[in-house]
């Protein structure tokens, strides 16, 4: 006898298993309509492969897995696809979700497939493909895709078959073992084969399933499989719990059993794998317990996936008037169905139609008296009572510190609470709120990143701007140097001139671009002209629109001329060589570029020259005037220039111009200069003109 370990806590609710064990597994009459939700598993919804109106055969894949963690859906019988639409599904929320609706033709025609091979001769990879293609998911409740669970990254030394079925009322696994014992043993052998023959293969079973134990035991005599019985206690059947009972190990928080080299599979899943591998049948049916006092013939039924709950219940003699609560799953972890048309899915192990006596109304919760029973029964060794306080005060940090995430929602704490506090409900709500908060945090992180990138981009652009400005300053200094060669220039003005020059140079598009732009303009004008001409020709002489057409034509013609003229002028001004006057002529790009650069400089220098000449003229005029008058004049002109410079600065400020700094310096310099001149003028007025002249 293998040693077993005990789990912390646990409860012993009334088992109520005998009701559904009175009869053998029976079949359900074929329903007319089958509803197949695209998402019956954990992971991404399957992608439909059929469309309404298609005829399908039994076992045909009608939706394929969408990604690695996903599962296929197969037609449970032959028939016609009626629709792919939202239908109420078996879900705690009672929500609707996309489903494939199949009208059965009652013929049960199977799809042709390759005959099943001997699994011993197949490789684990081939077997995994078969399991994946059969759409098998965990049949115990959660519905995790089985093929994914069977290919862990770690090497596996222990395979655990979970036949615990600790929840009251449910007997689907029990009866499956009793009636299909050999198939289960074969299924376990297939799993062992896939996992590379693990050292230990354990079947964990509670001691309330004596018949199943006796059925299994003789078949395991010469196998590596060990049948381990342990005392009945809820929730021994949870994956983490059964691992602890059989191996004494605890699955680390937030990790998978595979970290310990353990894979755990439910008996129902094992049977589905047997069917898929040895019979070539995908997962189209399952054993479901239908029980509760509202059913006259409670028992286990082999039911097609997608069968509406009401159909299955009717087969079990459902009395709608007795039923107080319709629970999908067991009484401890199951959820209520509020739509009888919701279908049986791959993970539906029980339909419990409870009457008033079985599902007494939840009393009004009283104050927590800190009795601590909840902590005594908690299989995860949490402090449900502390969690309850923190959940009520929405202290999510504390909830995390007290490991709310490790709660398996078994319901033992709520079950024993003398104050009838719905503890699990508080934890579910808190978990959901934490999930939402985490998502919001992720979203906030993303937007923070976005903002940071944006800031970075801005900073980069700013630096580029500064670099440009530096370059411009350099150019201006160079220009200043060249301008100093000119004797008569007012040296104080040079930087302004240089700035202006630099501005002219930088703001001016390159002659090449300008040329291209003008060419485009000419071409556009030409096409407009051609269009106008055509329109004009189309118009009959007496057409009332003729006048306007004529005007348009004339306008287009004028525009065209203008454009051509501009282009020629541009070419003339740019090109020194004659062949460039023709705008269609091809010139070696480099020479043209060099020429243009020279031209550009000449143009700018011409302007500077002009300014210098003007300044010289002014200086000559001033020379003729008396010193006092000169000063006065200078003041006036300075004032004018200052006003202009200020306007420009203002303009630049409002346009957020790049050269704003240059303008600002110009303004300050002018102000300084004006101040100096004014002081001189005042001085001059105080003294005699002659003195000031000297």
């Amino acid at each position: 006898m293998k040693k077993t370990w005990d789990i912390h806590g646990g409860i012993h609710p009334p088992e109520n298993k005998s009701q559904s064990l009175q009869r053998a597994i029976s079949n359900v009459p074929m329903p007319d309509v089958l509803i197949l939700p695209l998402n019956q598993h954990i992971g991404a919804s399957a992608l439909p492969l059929v469309k309404p109106g298609d005829t399908v055969l039994k076992g045909q894949m009608i939706a394929e897995p969408n990604g690695f963690i996903s599962a296929a859906v197969h037609a449970p019988t032959s028939g016609t696809i009626a629709a792919i639409e939202e239908r109420p599904i078996s879900h705690p929320s009672g929500m609707s979700a996309p489903c494939i609706v199949l009208h059965s033709d009652g013929d049960e025609r199977w799809v042709e497939g390759p005959p099943p091979a001997d699994y011993q001769s197949l490789s684990p990879a081939q077997l995994l493909t078969i399991i994946r293609d059969a759409g098998i998911t965990g049949m115990g409740g959660a519905g995790f895709p089985t093929a994914v669970k069977l290919q862990p990254r770690q090497s596996i030394d222990t395979l655990i078959i979970n036949a615990t079925e600790c929840e009251p009322y449910i007997t689907a696994d029990d009866i499956l073992i009793r009636e299909r014992t050999e198939d289960i043993v074969t299924g376990i052998d297939i799993l062992a084969h896939i996992l590379g023959r693990p050292e230990q293969i354990l079947i964990g079973i509670e001691d309330n399933k004596a018949e199943a134990y006796e059925a299994l035991e003789p078949l395991l005599k010469d196998t590596a499989i060990e049948l381990v019985e342990f005392p009945t206690k809820y929730p021994s059947g949870g994956e983490k719990q059964v691992i602890q009972i059989l191996t004494g190990q605890e699955v680390p928080s937030g990790k998978l059993p595979a970290e310990l080299g353990i894979v755990c599979q439910n008996v129902g899943t094992v049977y589905a794998i047997f069917r898929a591998v040895c019979k070539g049948e995908p997962l189209v049916s399952r054993i479901t317990t239908v029980t509760g006092n509202s059913c006259r013939t409670p028992g286990n039924y082999e039911v097609l996936i997608g069968t509406p709950a009401v159909h299955l219940l009717t087969a079990a003699g459902f009395d709608e008037f007795l039923c107080q609560r319709l629970i999908l799953g067991g009484p401890m972890t199951g959820y209520t169905l509020n739509d009888l048309s919701a279908p049986v899915i791959k993970s539906t192990n029980c339909l419990l139609a409870a009457d008033a006596a079985e599902s007494p109304q939840q009393g009004i919760p009283q104050a927590c008296i800190r009795c601590g029973h909840c902590a005594e029964v908690c299989p995860a060794k949490l402090l449900p009572q502390q969690l309850f306080w923190y959940a009520r005060s929405k202290d999510y940090d504390k909830l995390a510190a007290y490991h709310l995430g490790d709660c398996i929602e078994c319901g033992a704490c709520s079950y024993v609470c003398p104050s009838e506090i719905p503890l699990v409900q508080y934890y579910r709500a808190a978990k959901a709120e934490i999930r939402v908060m985490e998502q919001e945090n992720i979203a906030a992180d993303r937007s923070r990143q976005r903002f940071e990138y944006h800031q970075e981009r801005l900073a980069k652009a700013e630096q580029e701007k500064i670099a440009k400005r530096e370059a411009r300053k350099k150019a201006a200094e160079q220009a200043k140097l060249s301008a100093q060669d000119n004797e008569n220039i007012d040296t104080e003005d040079t930087d302004v001139v240089a700035a202006a020059l630099a501005r002219v140079r930088s703001s001016k598009p390159s002659p090449e671009e300008e040329h291209k732009r003008l060419q485009r303009a000419v071409m556009a004008a030409e096409s407009r002209l051609a269009k106008a001409r055509a329109n004009h020709e189309l118009c009959a002489a007496d057409d009332p629109r003729r006048a306007s057409r004529e005007a348009t034509l004339e306008q287009a013609r004028l525009r065209h001329n203008e454009a051509v003229e501009q282009l020629t002028r541009h070419t003339d001004s740019n090109d020194t060589s004659k062949e460039q006057q023709n705008h269609t002529a091809e010139i070696p790009a480099r020479t043209q570029h060099q020429n243009q650069n020279q031209n550009q400089d000449t143009v700018a220098l011409d302007r500077a020259q002009l300014a210098i000449e003007q300044a010289q003229q002014r200086a000559a005029q001033q020379a003729e005037m008396s010193a006092q008058e000169k000063l006065q004049l200078q003041c006036d002109s300075l004032r004018k220039r200052l006003a202009k410079a200020r306007d420009r600065l203002k303009q630049a400020e409002s346009d957020a111009d790049d050269n704003i700094e240059a303008y600002a310096t110009a303004v300050t310099k002018l102000e300084d200069k004006l101040a100096v001149r004014q002081a001189e003028v005042e001085q001059g007025l105080a003294k005699t003109p002659a003195e000031s002249d000297s």
């Binding site: 699955v251 680390p252 401890m332 209520t336 009283q366 510190a401 024993v416």
Partner: protein
């Protein structure tokens, strides 16, 4: 028919708060019988007065707080407080003492802190200590046990008891009173324990810890065992308390000199030891939550009881020890969190999110 949408679990164990309280009341019966057998009608009268006071106070406060009165009354928690006060007070104490104590327990110690489940101190013990400090004479006037009354003298009957309690006539209780065994022992300086046991009426007529008193304690012990069997509370706190009390008594017992603090049997079966161990220390609201915490809580209570009995001024050690430990309960809780499944380390109440994150980060 509309199907209900209700979250799991859909089953509930039969044990409700009301049932817990009723079991507790039931468990006091053996002790109450022993009390009444040995000390007369006084305890029953105490309980009756306390119950009426408690229910009236509870109802009026709940009404003042605009809560459903019946909902709060029918959980029987007020009755439990009343019964515990009634059992703890000396029989035949004047009626107003009971009323004051109970009213203080329910109104101040329970409801001003938020009512059921929120009170940091055990209401019955608060009520008791308030009385002890305010009315020391009334509170230390214990009647003698029937068995040690002089030949031919009997304890007052029901009518006479009521007259004494309600102070109608000049009937005085004086004729029936004597210091309690613990008190007598405390003031027995100069005598060896053996001599004292041979001379004192309590011990001459008693077997282990004073006539009557030992039976009262055994009665409460029986009630406690019943509650343990009914799984109303776990064994941790009472066993720890009785163990440390025994160990303390044993360690400090010097073989029976005149300065001795008394043998373990005296401490276990006298005074309010058993009432405290099974009905006061086990109060869930004011004690530690986890089993480890309860062990510590019970153990420290036991030590305190002995310390107060041996070296304190009041002989009523249980009430003070319990109140002092009520202070410590949240602190104990902080450091006795269980190790959650799948985690390497025990939880700390001081744990913050960051700490637990670091914890998991280390594991990764």
């Amino acid at each position: 028919m509309a199907l209900q949408r209700i979250t799991s679990p859909h089953m509930h164990a039969a044990q409700t708060t009301q049932r817990v309280m009723q079991l507790l009341l039931l468990a006091t019966v053996p002790g109450l019988i022993a009390l009444s057998w040995h000390f007369g009608w006084g305890s029953l009268i105490n309980i009756a007065i306390a119950s009426v006071t408690a229910l009236v106070c509870e109802a009026s406060i709940v009404a003042l707080r605009k809560r459903p009165v019946w909902f709060y009354l029918h959980d029987c928690s007020a009755l439990v407080t009343a019964v515990l006060i009634g059992l703890a007070l000396p029989p035949l104490v004047p009626w107003w003492v009971v009323v004051v104590g109970t009213a203080f327990a329910i109104i101040i110690a329970k409801h001003l802190y938020g009512g059921m489940g929120y009170n940091p101190f055990n209401p019955a013990m608060v009520g008791y200590v308030v009385l002890l400090i305010s009315f020391p004479i009334e509170m230390t006037t214990w009647p003698v046990a029937q068995s040690i009354l002089p030949e031919g003298k009997v304890l007052p009957g029901l009518g006479e008891s009521l007259q004494i309690v309600f102070q109608f006539s000049g009937t005085a209780i004086d004729g029936y009173t004597a210091a309690t065994p613990l008190d007598s022992f405390k003031h027995s300086s100069g005598l060896l324990v053996e001599q004292f046991y041979d001379q004192n009426v309590w011990f001459v007529n008693g077997r282990w810890a004073g006539a009557g008193w030992e039976w009262v304690n055994l009665g409460f012990f029986a009630g406690g065992c019943f509650l343990l069997y009914q799984r109303v509370f776990t064994w941790h706190a009472p066993v720890a308390m009785l163990t440390t009390l025994t160990i303390m008594a044993w360690l400090n017992y010097d073989g029976g000199s005149s300065g001795s603090h008394g043998p373990a049997t005296l401490h276990l079966l006298s005074g309010a030891t058993m009432l405290g161990a099974f009905f006061i220390v086990t109060d869930p609201v004011t004690s530690a939550v986890s089993n480890r915490g309860r062990l510590i809580y019970g153990a420290l209570t036991g030590i305190l009881i002995f310390v107060i009995r041996a070296w304190g001024n009041y002989p009523d050690a249980v009430a003070f020890a319990v109140l002092l430990m009520n202070f410590a309960a949240p602190f104990i809780d902080y450091y006795t969190l269980p190790r959650t499944y799948g985690h390497d380390k025990r939880n700390r109440g001081t744990a913050t999110l960051d700490a637990s994150k670091q914890d998991t980060a280390k594991k990764d």
